[in-house]
Every structure is written in structure tokens, then in C-alpha cells.
Subunit: 290 residues, 2 copies
DNA sequence: CACGATACCTGACTAAAGTCAGGCATCATG
DNA sequence: CATGATGCCTGACTTTAGTCAGGTATCGTG
């Protein structure tokens, strides 16, 4: 009764029998599912028709008809794309925005209702994050981002908080060598964020220096995304970025308290070198030639 | 981007867009979803036509047609109910059982594949258990069971294992006063298991004594079911059982390391009393008059 | 500016799911 | 044993989703 497979299948049963209950917000407003999905996709900022079609996995003919029906309802308007007259762009009308808001309210109410069932909401949320990340694993996108963007700053904040928890002496950014944003921006470096849907779940920085090498900084993977080998993917992406920038030598520093990171480095071609900076936190130093 | 509601909604999106992927076993054998669901319901032991209809939420006309199509395929046979000629009972033919086994194999393979995606399967499973329990919360059944049943023994095993982890000195059943099974069986006592679907997720024992009171023993809630206020439900059920057996006074012993249990007792009408036994593990003793 | 590629649209079709009214045995009850 | 209720079945219908083969306007390229 308790082998892993039957546990997974129990979860599947629970979820499939509850998908209705999980998110019936697409129903309940007298509109077929397909049309509701398109309306909500537009409401969430997807305007390009091809993009919506792709996101929802719809046939081009079907997509066309769904758009027409939303237009007939007066919820959506389409116009030609600015740069390319073949492409079409859909936007919500005023009525459409109202209708979208109604869907959002329904969906939020439902989510709150679900959370209220449980007295330890944080544990429930963590479990949901973990499963969502696993399910959408194929769709985790590594995106180069401005190091001062909201997403990047969120990741860094979580990263610092985690160091604070894991280092015996805590962690104070101001004591560490906080990399300058411009060193993690082209052409000197790069900053890459792993996005699952709209949620940042990991990051890595490539920091240019003037000493003939670049440094890997701020490698972080959200707790809910651990086990998906995302750290490795982020490192690969950082190395790719370095190659593209013509960087031949990489260095990084880390702390032996972060065991899984050290293990990752060792297993991917990095080798330990002597200390190469005076940052107080790291006690392990690595190098890799590309 | 990180408020609880949007995390729940992210989970919903991930799950709904993956339900297909979660369990496509219903597809892939060249049979429409409806027919496959009926076949699998019968395979899982639901034979009464009305029961299947109810379980799957089908219209009686549609159900009839689906059954006919399965009969035409030679997978299912129906006959009149023994006691009521109006009702019909469906059973799988030999071919039907083979086909059902194929669906089961697909479903198992898919579950295994999903687990393989993740390098920390245990964390993933724990998260799935937690969510499945929350989703099926309304359907958690408290069932009086034989204390030597598989379900009861599984719960007790988990309970002892948890005590071993939480007591500094560990836990050895043989040193504790292990209640005799016959004391937790009518008419002297009771043993109640909380079942979610087919999974035991909690238990409590009511142990009769010859000293004018009964004891509450072995209150346990699976980690995946914590936060659902199941401990309270189990205690209520145990007290109900005691009342029905004419027991007017309850006692229990516990350990201060189990803080949440102590809190539960204090908040539900129990009050602390002096030690009433010489068991080495407990250090807190409670009594409640019914 | 010819030409193939691209983005979207339309018409014609199918499959699946579901609804509804009515019909026929069978059952429980007075 | 007449009568209404129950359980299932059948026929006729609708809605939704989806497929596929063209068709038209626009784009990028030589």
C-alpha cells in the first residue's frame, strides 16, 4: 500500500478528481473552456496570436474561431502587428478586462479557499512549489537578465537569506565582495535567472574581472527546485555565456558548508586552487579552463 | 510574484496543464476517455452500474452507451443484480482483465517515470502525499479496525519510528508498556485508523483497563496529513468510542518532546495529573472526564 | 518585383461528451 | 394485483474540441 508508485498514483487520482475543484474558475461564467482559456491568456499579457496558440497548444483554425467568438462577445479586439502585417495582436476591450478580472477574482478565491483547509499553509505551499517545479521542469527557461531586475534581486535576496541560515557565523552582504552590477552585464559578464512559469527559481552570475578570468557568483537554486539538476543547467549556461564572451578561464569561491555545490563543481571539471581573494566567507576556491 | 495565492495558482496551472502528462494511461490504447474510465472503474472493483455512474459523474444514458461499447469490444459483461433485477452488475471478461492490466501497467510505468525525473524522490513523494491528503481531506474516513490488521500495524510502526527520532534517548517498544491487542478491541477498547483513499494516515488506540478508566494510546498522524486537524478528529472519535463503551474516565501519558500533542490535549479539556504508571518514556500525564 | 515562406482565416468535416424525453422491465407497497 | 417508483436503455439532439485542406494578405530575399 505504500510503494512509491502507488503513492504517485494516489496523488494523480486526488489531483485529477480535483482539477475541477482546483481551478473551476475557467468555468462558471457561461463560456466554453477554450474561449475562457484564450481570454485569460490575453489577460495575462500574452497578446501575440501565435504565442497564445503555442502556449495553449491550439490548432490555428481553432484559435481563429475562438478569437472570433471573443470578438463577437465584445471582449477582445485584434489588430495587425506593428512590424509584421501578417501577425495579429489581441487586446482586451474594457468589457474584456472586466470579464478577465472576474475570472481572476474567482481563481484567487479558490486558491485562498484551498489554503484555508490547512493549518500549516507554508508546508502546503512548499509542497505545491516542489511539485509544480517538477511538473514544469521541461519548461524551466534560463533567461539572461539585468542584475538589477526584480527577478534577479529576488533570487539574490533568497540566496543571502540561505547563506545566513547555513553559515554558522551568519552572512552579511556588506562584508562580502558584492559584485558590481555592471560586471555581471554584457560585455563584461552575464546574469542568468531560471524561470519556471513566472516564478524565479534559481540564478547564477558571471562576473567579468580585469585579471584574465571571469568569476562565477551567486549560484542559487530555490529549495522547491532542488533535485531537478538545475544547478548543473545554470552552470552550463554560465559557461556557455562565458565562451560566447571569449572568456577562457573561470574561477569561483565557495564555502565548505555548501556541500552540494562543492560536489557539483568537482563533478563538472572544476579543480581546487589556492585562495585568490580576501573575501571572509569562502574557504574553497575553484578554477576551470574552458 | 510570491504571495501564497499566486503560488497556489502556479501549482494549479502546472497540474492542470500536466494532468494529461500525469496520467495519460487512460489514453494510448485507442479507446475514448469515457470508455477507458469505465473499464478502469470496473477493474478497480466497482461493479454496480449505478455506483460507477455516480463515481464518474456520468449521465445514465451516456453510461449505458459506454457499457455497450465495452461489451461490443468483448471486455465487459453485464448481468442483472442478484437481489434486484432492475440493477445491473458489470464484470470484466478474460479479455477485459487483460486490457485492464495493460492500463495498470501503463499507469505504473508513468508514475515511475515521473519519480525518475527527480533525484530526491522521497521529498517529492512526501509533497505529493501532503497535497493528496489535503485534496481528499473531506474523504478521510475514521474506521475502527482490528489492532493487528496490516493498516494498524503500519501506523504503529511509523509511530514507533517517529518516537525513535524525536526522543533523545530513542525509543524501544519492548521497554514501553506495549498495550495488549485485546485491550484495544471491543468490548474493552477500540483501535481507530484514519484512511485516506487506501492509505492509512493516522491512528489512535483506546485501551481498556481494570482500574475504572481507559487509556488513550498510540495517537499518531502521518507527517503528510499534519495540519489537517486530524489529531483532533481522531481524539474525538476515540472519546466517542469510549462513551459508547460506557467509559467515563480517560487517562493518557505522553512526552514533553511531543509538544503539539500536549497542546492538543490541553486545548480539548484534558488536565494534567501526577504520574500514574512506571513506563520509562512518558513524563506528562493527563486525565479527562467524559 | 517575382517567389517562396509565413501568419492567419474559412469552410467542411469528425469524434467525443453530454442532454433529454420517453420506454420497458422490475420492485415495493397498499 | 394495481400502481407509482426505480434502474437502465434507446433515439434524437446539441455543444465543444479538434483536424485538414485550401485561400489570402504580407513578408523577406534575390
Amino acid at each position: 500500500m505504500l510503494d512509491p508508485v502507488s503513492r504517485v498514483r494516489r496523488f494523480n487520482r486526488a489531483v485529477t478528481s480535483a482539477v475541477g475543484a482546483l481551478d473551476t474558475s475557467f468555468l462558471g461564467r457561461g463560456r466554453p473552456l477554450g474561449a475562457a482559456r484564450v481570454l485569460n491568456a490575453i489577460g495575462h499579457g500574452r497578446s501575440d496570436v501565435a504565442e497564445i496558440r503555442d502556449y495553449l497548444g491550439l490548432d490555428s483554425g481553432l484559435m481563429s474561431r475562438l478569437l472570433r467568438s471573443l470578438e463577437d462577445e465584445g471582449l477582445v479586439e485584434t489588430e495587425a502587428h506593428q512590424d509584421d502585417g501578417r501577425r495579429r495582436v489581441a487586446t482586451l476591450t474594457r468589457t474584456g478586462r472586466r470579464e478577465f478580472a472576474a475570472y481572476e477574482a474567482l481563481s484567487n478565491a479558490q486558491a485562498e479557499g484551498f489554503l484555508a483547509q490547512h493549518s500549516q499553509a507554508e508546508a502546503l505551499l512548499a509542497a505545491m512549489d516542489l511539485i509544480a517545479s517538477t511538473l514544469t521542469r521541461q519548461r524551466i527557461a534560463l533567461v539572461e537578465m539585468e542584475p538589477r531586475s526584480n527577478e534577479a534581486r529576488y533570487c539574490l535576496g533568497e540566496y543571502y537569506a540561505e547563506l545566513g541560515r547555513r553559515f554558522k557565523q551568519g552572512f552579511d552582504v556588506s562584508l562580502s565582495r558584492d559584485p558590481d552590477a555592471k560586471d555581471m552585464r554584457r560585455p563584461r559578464g552575464s546574469f542568468i535567472v531560471a524561470m519556471s512559469d513566472t516564478l524565479p527559481i534559481g540564478c547564477v552570475g558571471l562576473k567579468g574581472t580585469d585579471h584574465g578570468y571571469a568569476e562565477i557568483k551567486r549560484l542559487w537554486v530555490a529549495p522547491a527546485a532542488r533535485g531537478l539538476r538545475l544547478g548543473r543547467r545554470l552552470m552550463d549556461a554560465a559557461e556557455d555565456a562565458a565562451r560566447k564572451l571569449g572568456i577562457a578561464l573561470l574561477r569561483l569561491d565557495t564555502n565548505s558548508a555548501l556541500a552540494e555545490a562543492g560536489q557539483l563543481y568537482r563533478s563538472t571539471g572544476w579543480h581546487e586552487i589556492p585562495r585568490f581573494n580576501d573575501d571572509p566567507y569562502p574557504d574553497l576556491f575553484f578554477e576551470k579552463r574552458l
